[in-house]
């Protein structure tokens, strides 16, 4: 036997799934812009000489309303089984940032035993805040000329290898190889020259700030 509540509930058709939080964000931004336009118009009118009532108009201003946060999804990151190969030197690889600073999480992958002929062990450790600091340290490294790319010199081969996997809110992932012994950092479409320990040190500082131990120790390269 049905009651009126059930009859009403049954009368509602299947409604489309909508990202309502994102839509609220869009509407709030639109309202703020509209208020901004109104405020600008008022300012123009004031500067045209309407001194009388300036105080009244002057009170028209944008509400300090923040945009609601987007739903931040953090992709599940995993360490690749092997390290990325250095890309073939091309001029365009020198330009542009290594990665975008909007990454929401990151995973440091430390590869031990790559040069001993035995099994390779991969140690992962993740961070979920201040990832932009790590990315900024990557992007701060200097671009290389093609000649520099061809003549990269490396030292001390028998050390761990490092890669960082960056995760983005839209589910994208970006793998960046750090090669401090060759003083380079790269992925398949970017390569930078300099102290490639800097992003690793930034990463480790965040891990230590969380009260954990970092598998990367300064100078361990």
């Amino acid at each position: 036997m049905k009651c009126l509540h059930e009859l009403l509930a049954d009368a509602v058709p299947e409604l489309p799934e909508v990202d309502r939080l994102a839509e609220v964000g869009r509407r709030v931004r639109r309202r703020r812009r509209a208020r901004g336009v109104v405020a600008s118009g008022v300012v123009v009118a004031l500067t045209a000489g309407a001194l009388v009532g300036a105080q009244w108009f002057g009170s028209v201003r944008e509400d300090p309303v923040a945009t609601p946060p987007p739903v931040v999804t953090k992709p599940v990151l995993e360490c690749p089984p092997r390290v990325q190969e250095r890309p073939f030197p091309r001029p365009e690889l020198a330009d542009g940032p290594v990665a975008d600073e909007s990454a929401v999480n990151a995973l440091l992958c430390v590869y031990d035993g790559m040069y001993g002929g035995g099994p390779v062990t991969v140690t992962p450790i993740g961070i979920e805040h201040d990832v932009a600091n790590v990315v900024r340290a990557m992007n701060a490294l200097a671009p290389m000329t093609v000649d520099q790319m061809r003549n990269i010199g490396c030292r001390l081969p028998a050390t761990p290898e490092y890669q960082i996997v960056l995760g983005y809110p839209d589910g994208r992932q970006q793998l960046v190889r750090m090669d401090p012994k060759c003083s380079v950092l790269y992925h398949d479409t970017a390569i930078r020259y300099g102290d490639a320990r800097r992003p690793l040190e930034e990463f480790s500082a965040i891990v230590r700030a969380d009260g954990r131990e970092s598998p990367y120790l300064s100078g361990s390269w």
Binding site: M1, K2, C3, L4, H5, L7, L8, A9, D10, A11, V12, P13, L15, P16, V18, R20, L21, E23, V24, R27, V28, R31, D63, V65, A66, P68, P69, V71
Partner: protein
């Protein structure tokens, strides 16, 4: 782990948990999926703007939803009242068909005034008490009782719904 209810993350959780029921109530009010979404968005934007100061976000969103509905109906939808096609002759088999009952309910809702409709949705879909409904719509409890009585009378005029009522459905 739940976020601080007053934080932006708390708002995101509220939207995730409550917007589905808000949009279903809005559909019963408007009879249109787009208008229902629009109505819910207005309520959520207003709620967000006052998020840190609102004590009962669910009650606040509901109040904005219903008062906005009443205002919009007066301004924009007066000429857009939908009317449903109800079968001329109702048989027992028809009554047992869910689709026919759905159409009958929709058709009858469309015949209610905006305030009667709001009262029916509040009282019987959202299970609000007379006092709560009066608070949401900003009127007296006597007014809610009157609108409820008239709305139920309109619902009972329908052959399908009357047949259901004869079979024990409480209308």
């Amino acid at each position: 782990m739940r976020s601080d209810p007053k934080s932006p993350e708390g708002f995101a959780e509220f939207v995730a948990e409550r917007s589905g029921s808000l949009v279903r109530a809005a559909w019963l009010l408007t009879g249109d999926a787009h208008k229902a979404e629009d109505l819910v968005q207005v309520a959520l934007v207003r709620l967000w703007e006052r998020w840190s100061g609102v004590e009962e976000p669910g009650a606040y969103a509901r109040r904005v939803l219903y008062t906005t509905y009443m205002t919009w109906w007066r301004r924009r939808w007066r000429a857009e009242r939908p009317s449903a096609v109800v079968p001329d002759a109702v048989t027992r088999d028809d009554v047992e068909g869910d689709a026919v009952v759905r159409l009958a309910v929709r058709g009858r809702l469309a015949r209610l005034s905006s305030r009667q409709r709001a009262v029916v949705v509040l009282r019987f879909f959202e299970d609000c008490s007379v006092e709560d409904a009066a608070r949401v719509l900003g009127c007296s409890t006597g007014s809610i009782k009157t609108h409820t009585s008239r709305a139920l009378a309109v619902l009972r005029e329908d052959d399908v719904l009357r047949t259901l009522m004869d079979e024990g459905v409480v209308l």
